[in-house]
Amino acid sequence: MITGAVKELKGLLREGRRDFIKRMATFMAIGGLVLGPMPALAQSKDTIKIGVLHSLSGTMAISETVLKDTVLMAIEEINAKGGVLGKKLEPVVVDPASNWPLFAEKARQLIAQDKVATVFGCWTSVSRKSVLPVFEELNGLLFYPVQYEGEELSKNVFYTGAAPNQQAIPAVEYLMSKDGGAAKRFVLLGTDYVYPRTTNKILRAFLKTKNIPDADIMEEYTPFGHTDYQTIIGKIKKFAGEGKRTAVISTINGDSNVPFYKELGNQGLKAKDVPVVAFSVGEEELRGVDTKPLVGHLAAWNYFQSLKNPTNDEFVKKWAAYAKAKNLPGHKDKPLTNDPMEATYIGVYMWKQAVEKAKSTDTDKVIAAMAGQTFKAPSGFTAKMDEKNHHLHKPVFVGEVKADGQFNIVWKTSGPVKAKPWSPYIAGNDKKKDEPEMTAKK
């Protein structure tokens, strides 16, 4: 393998530099082909194609790779039971490589060239914003499985993750309750991009309605991939030492969470003194962290692996078996499930049910059939697709980190909560309609 690559390289160099860069790109593509084999896709006529648009390389690979595997697992299950409308499902996996413009390019390729019936994909809000015009222009269908900041409602997207009122707001309410430690001062800490900034804008407005003055809110942002949290933790300590119970609300995304939590543990900032509640940290993100010093820090989601109910037991078991059979790195020894995986799984099955109801994979017919679909979710509740607003009705859980990296559920809603994509805490949202405009924007 390597000698081949070297030969190619030598040949390249002999030919001089003229179209060197072009050649270099070919060379790298060869490297990519050799070293990162994609699953071979069987070609047959009588199948329904499903697009999978998740980053398998780059910064977001840490979170998105398992979502690709979750879609593949659900497809395998559905195919084993005879497929949809008598046809087998055929996944088309592409890698947008954590590159936001590439997301749009790959989405166009999936819809226009591969003619997929639907796409499951995206994690960061910036990638979703990047593909949105493509889906609206080509009238495609996207299932987006991650919690996000709201402020968006497209006819072509079904949002199976949480809106702010299904995650952020209840979590902060918990922190302010007696059991959550009756916090009166808040640090809003996040990665510097659209999701944390919008969420914190909503939270600031929400805290204002709870009579928290601006002086008691500290907002801090770090760049993507930040690794040195010494100063920030020092600042949090100082802020917390100035009086009143303090809590940290973290919207740090991606692998920055690992150094953040390591520093937190080593600097001895204990959950019982200053609890940290995170919105983008789940079982998978804590895989690379020693969780013993972190016991008691919190996360808010609509699903945790530690939930005890028969549907979840079965889901976890299926995932463990699938990970073992497919030899998925990491998961084959220590299978973990998380909220976005559950949301992905619900999405695939709801799409299947909608297609069966519509008796067609036509985008508009499926969108109409999606309204009011229900699915018995691993969260233990029946998730329902809202009749109008393209979001799920989901329960909310708050969990505390345990020594083994799982979560101990300390608070939950009594039942599913309807999503409010237009947060009432942002001015002007009260006039917005709780359903997408049914004419696609041109």
Partner: protein, 537 residues
């Protein structure tokens, strides 16, 4: 003769029961409340157990803290491995896993438990245990603990324990209705190191919305403001030390990342874009060492890092040598080609690691002796892992200096980098020096990877986040100068950490970049330029 035998048996049984009863003289009703659904009820039960001042409650509370206390059909049961025993009587009971009902412990309960257990341990015969307990009690004492604290104080002879106990007592008594007690408490808090003392004292000096002071007694207010000033005076020094330390820590990380590059780029002039991947390989080697220890030498797990150091050096050095022999040696003197090729190789290395270990980050845990931190007082903690890395960086720099200035190969390296042709003429085997030097530079990057694995992420993309910083350090320090690299790394770390509190992390980084750009404009050769007649100049 049967009757006396019966009697004896009955007597023994009675004594046994009585002793059991003594060992578990916990009010059953109170204990039952520990299993209550409601957090307030649980808290009240914990405080009642503290009020009863019976150390027999410790195992029960400890079990609750460790999630080992469960309800089985309404009965409290302590689970210990695969054994289960009744929490009150201590008798073995049958508790099948599906009947166990976990008792939820949240942060609020956990905090109360920590204090409760500590307060019951205040009279322990072991000094170390008493110190720990007194410290924990001083962290968050409750009114119920006051009698326990007072009894402990009256018996205590050890100064350190006494100091913490006095702080704990002051924290409780500052809420007392007697102004004399409050005054004494405020005075005591002024000499202690309790993090929350500042906020409690500060509150005493605040005014109500109505305009009157929250603290009515002027004497108490005076004591409080004196105490507050004393605390702030004492906190100043540790805070400056903390900022210096975090700058030094960041500097040592930058130095370890850049030192290898200072040799390959600085001395040899190779633009090695795969340098970051050598760091990554070092970090992954650490992970492999940890896994090997976990599997084969679990008793020595804490020392895996010691084995990882030579392993990481060897792996990174071998990959570096292979890279030099197979690719780079054909490209000497052609910087653009070297840059693109090594960049391609860095992608290949990243992708192979991703295929081998998975796209997710792998877990590298700090050994227990590197977890936690050294408490400087005034809530300033120097984490051990960062302290170790600073010393490690100094050690590596020392070795490199020793190598370059005291060994024959080091002399060759300096000769070749200064004037290749002349060195060749003098009979120095330049190709051998080349691959050895490149191997050394890569190996040092591997060592840097070991250090990085202790504070950051270990993932396939690890290298990319450090390559820019590494080049920045080397270019700023002056190409070809080790001393420059060291000063540039530490200087950048300190500047960054002094800017960050004012500007935030995002702007801080931008400011540092602007400073570097301006500096390079003024001094393109970096901080330290090589003087003398060079082959290139």
């Amino acid at each position: 003769m049967t009757r006396p035998k019966w009697y004896r048996l009955a007597a023994i049984a009675f004594l046994l029961l009585a002793s059991l009863g003594r060992a578990f003289a916990i009010d059953g009703e109170t204990a039952k409340q520990l299993g209550a659904e409601d957090g307030d009820a649980k808290l009240a039960a914990i405080q009642r157990l503290v009020g009863a001042a019976d150390p027999a409650a410790i195992p029960l509370l400890k079990a609750l803290q460790d999630d080992a206390l469960v309800l089985v059909k309404g009965r409290l049961v302590i689970i210990d491995g695969d054994k289960a025993k009744d929490a009150l009587s201590g008798a073995s009971v049958d508790a099948p896993a599906d009947q166990r009902e976990a008792i939820t412990v949240n942060n609020r309960i956990r905090a109360a438990l920590d204090g409760a257990i500590a307060s019951l341990k205040l009279v322990s015969p072991d000094r170390a245990e008493r110190v720990a307990a007194a410290r924990a009690v001083a962290g968050d004492p409750s009114d119920e603990m006051l009698p326990l604290i007072k009894t402990a104080l009256s018996k205590e002879t050890d100064d350190e324990v006494k100091r913490w106990l006095n702080q704990a007592r002051a924290l409780v008594e500052i809420k007392n209705s007697d102004p004399a007690l409050r005054r004494a408490a405020a005075k005591l808090l002024g000499v202690g190191d309790i993090p929350q003392a500042k906020q409690i004292l500060g509150k005493l000096l605040e005014k109500n919305p109505a305009g009157s002071f929250i603290e009515a007694d002027a004497g108490v207010r005076d004591e409080a403001s004196n105490a507050l000033r004393a605390i702030e005076r004492r906190a100043l020094m540790p805070q400056i030390v903390a900022t210096l330390f975090s700058g030094l820590s960041l500097g040592s990380v930058l130095l370890l990342a850049a030192l290898g590059l200072a040799i390959t780029f600085g001395l040899m002039g190779i633009i090695n874009m795969a340098h970051g991947e050598m760091l990554m390989l070092g970090a992954y080697t650490t992970y492999v060492a940890q896994s090997l220890f976990r599997a084969y030498l679990p008793g020595w797990l804490d020392w895996y890092i010691v084995a990882a150091v030579p392993m990481a050096f060897a792996v990174a050095a071998l990959v570096g040598i292979a890279l030099e022999r197979l690719v780079i040696r054909f490209l000497y003197g052609r910087p653009l080609e070297t840059l693109l090729t090594t960049w391609g190789i860095s992608l290949m290395l990243t992708q192979s690691v991703r295929s081998l270990f998975g796209a997710q980050n792998v877990e590298v845990a700090n050994p227990s002796w590197m977890s936690g931190g050294f408490n400087l007082g005034a809530d300033v903690v120097l984490p051990y892992n960062r302290v170790v890395i600073i010393f490690f960086a100094a050690f590596v720099v020392f070795l490199v200096w020793l190598f370059l200035s005291r060994t024959r190969l080091g002399l060759y390296v300096r000769a070749v980098t200064q004037n290749r042709t002349m060195a060749d003429c003098m009979g120095i085997p330049t190709p051998r020096v080349d691959w050895m030097t490149f191997g050394l530079g890569s190996g040092i990057a591997g060592l840097g990877g070991v250090a990085l694995s202790q504070i950051g992420n270990v993932g396939p993309d690890l290298g990319q986040s450090y390559i820019v910083d590494s080049f920045m350090v080397v270019v700023l320090g002056g190409v070809g100068q080790l001393a420059g690299t060291i000063i540039a790394a530490v200087g950048l770390g300190e500047i960054n950490k002094f800017l960050e509190p004012f500007t935030g992390a995002v702007l801080g980084k931008i400011f540092v970049l602007i400073i570097i750009i301006l500096f390079i404009q003024k001094r393109p050769q970096g901080l330290f330029a090589l003087k003398g007649r060079m082959a290139e100049s």
